[in-house]
């Protein structure tokens, strides 16, 4: 009887350990199995690459960084697809006179990152020069092992 009880305890302990291991692995998968700070650094690097490409009108780099399903909403509430945005940049319809972004914050959800920030870049588009400070949200999604910009929206800060 005592022998059976000991055996049962060992089986139960083994089951419990297996269960905890499965839970732990599941949690790691949900968190992307990677420290949040590392993800933030990866996204920041892509964002900086995008900043450079925008200023240099490097459409090839932007083609790689932008998701094919990109949704881009500018400060005038106009919505653009990836093709429209790249065509405007390639044709010189978007012109940056200065570039300044700051105050980044990140929320990491596995392979999706919500990045917010503030910009006061001076940019000309459709004949208008925009100098108004604005808040933006960038949604980065990891697809095919690369972080890609899936959505961008900017809103002027009216009280400044």
């Amino acid at each position: 009887m005592a022998k059976n009880a000991g055996l049962m305890c060992r089986v139960l302990l083994l089951c419990a350990a297996s269960f905890l291991l499965v839970c732990s692995l599941t949690a790691q998968v949900e968190q992307g199995d990677k420290p949040v700070l590392q993800t933030e650094n990866e996204v920041l690097k892509v964002e900086q690459e995008r900043d450079q490409a925008l200023q240099q009108r490097d459409v090839a780099v932007l083609e790689r960084i932008y998701s094919d399903q990109l949704v881009f909403v500018n400060t005038r509430g106009q919505k653009f697809t990836k093709a429209q945005r790249l065509a405007d940049l390639g044709a010189g319809k978007v012109e940056y006179f200065s570039y300044n972004q700051e105050g980044y914050s990140y929320h990491v959800y596995g392979d999706t990152v919500v990045m917010t920030g503030r910009t006061s870049s001076v940019v000309k588009f459709q004949g208008r020069v925009n100098k108004i400070p604005r808040l933006f949200t960038n949604i980065y999604v990891k697809t095919g092992g690369l972080w890609r910009l899936a959505a961008h929206q900017a809103t002027p800060i009216v009280d400044e």
Binding site: N4, A5, L7, M8, V11, L12, C15, S18, F19, V22, T26, S67, Q69, V71, V73, N74, T75, R76, G77, Q78, K79, S105, H107, Y109, G110, D111, T112, V114, T116, P133, R134, L135, F136, T137, I139, V141, T143, A150, A151, Q153, A154, T155, P156, I157, V158, D159
Partner: protein, 156 residues
């Protein structure tokens, strides 16, 4: 008897693992149309909760890490946004949205649209059309809003 108990325990655990795997499999086989329908239902629920000031529903439908940027370029976290609703500082007098697009990346959905809702914010009524982007992420089986930004449409 002991062997029966151990067998029952193992069977229960195995069933749990199978159920989990089945749930994940089902999620993967959801069509885009089904996901869009689920997101629209959640968004409607969100608007109803805002109009009724149902704070329990608001808490459930918004992620703890919510980032909300309104048409004035003001950024609010979840606690601040829910407080605006609870206090009545933000009221939806009518709800009208259209021109939706959905981009689906697994358990992340980016919904873009246009809103013509009439909103009262700190005593000022805003009827101007605006473009919004909402991001929903499925967490533990529940879709939650993680980010929302609205921008006035200048030419309308």
């Amino acid at each position: 008897m002991t062997k029966l108990r151990v067998a029952a325990l193992l069977a229960t655990m195995a069933l749990g693992v199978i159920r989990g795997a089945t749930a994940q499999g089902a999620a993967k086989h959801e069509s885009d149309a089904e996901i869009q329908k689920a997101i629209l239902a959640i968004d409607n629920e969100r608007y109803e909760a805002m109009q009724k000031r149902d704070m329990a529903a608001m808490d459930r439908l918004h992620a703890d890490g919510l980032v909300f940027i309104n048409t004035k370029g003001r950024m609010l976290n979840k606690a601040e946004y829910l407080e605006e609703i609870r206090s009545g500082n933000l009221k939806f007098l009518s709800v009208e949205t259209d021109d939706y697009t959905f981009c689906i990346y697994g358990d992340t959905v980016i919904m873009s649209g246009r809103a013509k809702s009439v909103v009262e914010y700190h005593g000022v009524v805003n009827k101007r059309p605006r473009r919004f982007t909402s991001v929903f992420i499925r967490m533990q089986g529940q879709w939650r809003l993680v980010a929302h930004q609205a921008t006035l449409i200048a030419d309308e």
